[in-house]
């Protein structure tokens, strides 16, 4: 899963925000590795979310993977690095996720169906060809966001807060 992208020569690549850590606690190897894999893991988590309806994955699993990406970032760079990566309060993804999931249900209700009744559309998108979208996707995205919010919250309270 590692990214073969070459690293800038010169100054050692560092995680944004990691300079707030004591020099003793910093690890060049860890920071570099996290810098390399962080975005890849996030993209992978999105893939899991999108592919989940037909292959292993889904919102919960995707959310956990994304959460673990943030865990890595926190372990390598401390809470400042985590804050750089996610400059919002954990409550934001939590709330957004709940609203999205519940909103999917309510939308079905407004469209004359039952609460959370599913619907699907097939779109012919340029480049991607025929794409099938179901109402499960926004719902699953809600699950994804809640799980990410949970992990961020735990990182912030049990991790970052306990640091002080």
């Amino acid at each position: 899963m590692t990214d073969p992208q070459p690293v800038d020569s010169g100054a050692p690549p560092r995680l944004p925000g990691a300079d707030e850590l004591d020099a003793v606690r910093r690890s060049v190897v860890l920071e570099t590795a996290v810098r390399l894999v962080f975005h890849t893991i996030l993209v992978f988590s999105l893939y899991l979310l999108l592919a989940g309806h037909n292959q292993p994955g889904g919102g919960f699993v995707g959310g956990l993977v994304a959460g673990l990406a943030f865990v890595l970032r926190y372990i390598a760079g401390g809470r400042a690095a985590l804050r750089e990566a996610v400059p919002v309060d954990p409550g934001v993804p939590l709330g957004l996720g709940l609203v999205l999931a519940a909103g999917t249900g309510v939308t079905a209700l407004l469209l004359g169906g039952q609460f959370l009744e599913s619907g699907k559309v097939e779109l012919d998108l340029p480049l991607l060809g025929i794409v099938k979208a179901t109402s499960a996707l926004p719902f699953d995205t809600g699950v994804y966001l809640v799980v990410v919010g949970l992990v961020l919250g735990v990182l912030r309270t049990l991790g970052a807060e306990a640091e002080r």
């Binding site: 989940g52 309806h53 037909n54 292959q55 292993p56 994955g57 889904g58 919102g59 919960f60 699993v61 956990l64 993977v65 959460g67 673990l68 865990v71 372990i75 809470r79 804050r83 309060d89 954990p90 409550g91 939590l94 709330g95 996720g97 709940l98 999931a101 519940a102 249900g105 609460f115 959370l116 599913s118 699907k120 099938k132 179901t134 499960a136 719902f139 699953d140 809600g142 699950v143 809640v146 799980v147 919010g149 949970l150 992990v151 919250g153 735990v154 912030r156 309270t157 049990l158 991790g159 970052a160 807060e161 306990a162 002080r164």
Partner: protein, 800 residues
């Protein structure tokens, strides 16, 4: 539902619209207050004002026997409908609820300071209360009536506790809420029984054809308990005097005109149909008379003008209860008249006290002196109202008291009680006027700031209404007769002058004795003080405190026993309960056949052995960190088993959760000692081992039994069949999660969100602003912000 919407005319639609108007304005008020300030009260007064005006336009039709009826479907599944009905009694109540309500709201606009905080919320809640009260007196469905009933309890709680920084007002609000909702719940049981017995929840139908089954007396007593708590009858009355902690307009509206009348209203509503039931009259008359006497007696002893009025209200509510509960035509006439009279004079008096409080800064009648000379308009109006309360001609209070005496003459015991209560009423009325307005010897004149016209106007209107209706009783007569005609009998018209009848003699005697009691106030006071030492043992207010204390203490004891704070004990309790209850059931009722497949592939055995070894090693580990890693091995091993079994989604999730759990464990470990306690007690170790083995055995058995217990075809086949067609996906696990069981998932992610906030509150509680890091505070706000104000709790010690 019951009455089809066939004949819908605008007249009917207005009824529901008016109730909704209250709601809309209540929601609007906090927003509008930001712009309008205290003028927001003028806006929200539109709702009760419009209702009162509309009610007047409907009066002639309603009193002709054509009630306004409206029915809107609400929860058809439960047979609940928004059935509203405006008949004569409702009209009488609406005139109080909305008429007085509008005036009180206008009064509020001048009463509060411009910069009083929380005005928008207050205006909103007061309007919501007016709407709930309106719904209560209009409801034609017992369950709907109950809903509005409890809405008034909740809004009244918010209103009494308006000054939420004052411990006394918080206590008063809680007392009112606890007492009235307790009664409300008891009443609900009674109402449900009545509805069951009658086969309908419609008030009109129940009253038209009252059920007479064996449970009806019980149901009625339960309903009466609700009515008694709401109308502050003995022994539930103390909440009303306590509620004087509320702002004065609230007292004038809720505790004089509207909410406390709800119980009286309910009794008045039910009496025509149920007063014949044997249990009704003894209960209502005893409680009513006792309340009238206790309230009057206590009113004589108070020094706070508002509390004088509060106990006076208790007394008058008892009187009303007697009249509307007596179940005769004459008594109902008198009761309806007194209902109107009391609403008018008591609201006037409360508002006057508000003006006095506003103008002088005190309500203590020992400190006030010479207020009457300084504000003659106020004094005149308040004296008129007090005279009406005492039953002096030519005011409406006199007219209704005459009618009451006439009606009750036939029953010597009740009559004697009512006369005695009225003597007390006359005495405390006199004491109120003296205390509020007279110039007292040895007391310097109180400094009076002239009250504004806006503050005085509603008081004057209310006070004069009592005079006009007294001078021209014919104005109120149709309203009163409209209700009284639900009883058989010749109409007994209200009149100022009945001729030289016995009732007039009794009235004169009442006033004379009342005056004597007032003039002898010093000896009376000394006697009351002596008596109160004995009586304090049965003081209902202290009983309330004792009941609450007892509740607190028993809760503390229970908590001390149940919540020991020891994690092993909690876990042990949960696990042992599982083993003992479910395990016993499992072991005794099912049999496991030998037909068990031990494993599908040898690799499963290998993984199983690894998991088992890791589990044992976890339990034996000495360092916490080692234990956590080994526990992780157990989890990953289980995930491998899932893979081998062909469940990629489950395995993936298990891997990820295990990893996350490991990380969280490590975070927590930073705050715990590095090793477990060195010398665990032998006994405790043995017990733990026993529990562990029992649980392990139970789970093994449960798995074996569950594997063989299937009798119905598995649901999974249907899921497999429908996944692509209905869910539009080929990953069945995911389709189940987001579609077939979407509701469950929604619930689960809600739990996740709550858990995230819970963790934040628990971990951050007490850490607050100690280090002043903004990040910590944002996390706290996300957690509900409760913990912010608790600095100084020591953080757990960090052991490296």
């Amino acid at each position: 539902m019951r009455r089809g919407p066939a004949l819908r005319r605008p007249r009917e639609d207005v009824l529901l619209a008016l109730v909704l108007l209250h709601l809309v304005l209540a929601l609007l008020a906090p927003v509008a207050a930001a712009r309008l300030g205290r003028r927001v009260f003028l806006l929200v007064a539109l709702a009760p004002g419009a209702t009162a005006v509309w009610a007047v336009t409907q009066a002639s039709a309603v009193l002709d026997g054509r009630p306004v009826v409206s029915s809107t479907s609400w929860v058809p599944g439960l047979g609940l409908a928004l059935d509203l009905r405006l008949d004569a009694l409702s009209l009488l109540m609406v005139s109080l609820v909305s008429g007085v309500g509008a005036l009180v709201l206008l009064y509020c606009a001048a009463y509060f300071d411009r910069d009083q905080p929380g005005l928008g919320r207050f205006a909103g809640v007061l309007t919501a209360f007016a709407g709930a009260m309106l719904g209560l007196v209009l409801a034609d469905d017992l369950l709907l009536l109950y809903v509005f009933w409890e809405l008034t309890s909740v809004t009244s709680w918010l209103l009494i506790g308006f000054d939420d920084e004052d411990a006394e007002s918080r206590r008063a609000a809680q007392q009112a809420l606890l007492v009235t909702t307790l009664g409300g719940l008891v009443m609900l049981v009674g109402l449900v029984m009545l509805v069951q017995e009658a086969g309908t929840a419609s008030l009109a139908q129940i009253l038209g054809d009252p059920p007479s089954g064996g449970t009806v007396p019980v149901a009625l007593v339960l309903v009466l308990v609700g009515a008694f708590t709401k109308s502050a009858q003995v022994p539930f009355h103390p909440w009303l005097p306590s509620a004087m902690a509320a702002p004065t307009p609230v007292s004038a509206y809720l505790h004089a005109a509207a909410m406390v009348k709800a119980g009286v209203y309910l009794v008045a509503r039910l009496a025509p149909a149920f007063a014949v039931v044997a249990v009704w009259r003894p209960v209502v008359l005893t409680v009513g008379l006792a309340t009238m006497l206790v309230g009057g007696w206590r009113a004589l002893r108070q020094d706070d003008l508002k509390r004088v009025l509060a106990f006076g209200t208790v007394s008058q509510l008892g009187f009303l209860m007697v009249l509307v509960g007596a179940g005769t035509h004459e008594a109902a006439t008198a009761g309806a008249a007194l209902l109107l009279a009391h609403g008018l004079f008591k609201a006037t008096l409360f508002l006057s006290v508000g003006v006095i409080d506003h103008a002088t800064g005190t309500r203590d009648l020992r400190l006030l002196s010479g207020v009457g000379r300084r504000s003659p308009v106020l004094a005149t109006v308040a004296v008129l109202a007090a005279l009406s309360m005492a039953g002096v001609p030519p005011l409406l209070g006199f007219v209704s008291k005459e009618a009451a005496y006439e009606a009750l003459l036939g029953d010597p015991v009740v009559f004697a009680g009512v006369v005695l209560g009225s003597v007390l009423t006359a005495a405390y009325s006199a004491r109120f006027v003296w205390g509020a307005f007279a110039r007292k010897p040895g007391c310097a004149d109180t400094v009076v700031h002239a009250p504004s016209a806006g503050l005085l106007a509603p008081v004057v209107v209310l006070g004069l209404a009592g005079l006009v209706l007294g001078l021209v009783p014919g104005l109120a007569d149709p309203l009163v007769q409209g209700y009284a005609s639900s009883y058989e009998g010749e109409p007994e018209h209200l009149a100022l002058w009945h001729g030289l009848v016995p009732a007039l003699g009794w009235s004169v005697l009442t006033l004379a004795l009342g005056a004597a009691l007032f003039l002898a106030r010093e000896p009376v006071r000394a006697y009351q003080r002596r008596a109160s030492r004995v009586l304090s043992r049965v003081d209902a207010d202290r009983s309330y405190d004792r009941v609450l204390d007892g509740l607190d203490r028993s809760a503390l004891r229970t908590t001390a026993v149940v919540q020991t704070g020891s994690l092993p004990v909690y876990l042990g309790t949960v696990l042992l309960t599982l083993v003992l209850l479910a395990g016993t059931a499992l072991a005794t009722s099912t049999r496991v056949t030998g037909d068990v497949t031990a494993y599908d592939r040898p690799l499963q055995v290998a993984v199983g052995v690894v998991v088992a070894i890791a589990a044992v090693a976890t339990a034996r580990a000495h360092r916490r960190f080692t234990a956590v890693l080994l526990l992780g091995a157990v989890g990953y091993g289980t995930a491998v088993l899932f893979v081998l079994q062909g469940g990629p989604d489950l395995a993936l999730t298990q891997f990820l959760v295990e990893t996350l759990a490991l990380v969280i464990f490590v975070f927590v470990l930073r705050r715990l000692p590095a090793t477990f306690t060195r010398r665990p007690l032998r006994l405790s170790q043995g017990v733990r081992l026993g529990v562990a083995l029992a649980v392990g055995g139970f789970v093994t058995l449960a798995v074996l039994v569950a594997g063989q217990a299937r009798t119905a075809p598995p649901a999974s086949q249907a899921f497999l069949d429908r996944a692509q067609a209905d869910g539009g996906g080929s990953n069945v696990v995911n389709v189940v999660l987001v579609d077939f069981r979407g509701f469950d998932t929604l619930g689960e992610i809600t739990v996740l969100a709550v858990a995230a906030m819970g963790i934040a509150s628990l971990v951050l509680a007490g850490r607050g602003r100690r280090s002043g890091d903004p990040e910590g505070e944002t996390a706290l706000t996300a957690a509900g912000g409760q913990a912010v104000d608790e600095p100084g709790t020591p953080a757990p010690e960090v052991v490296p």
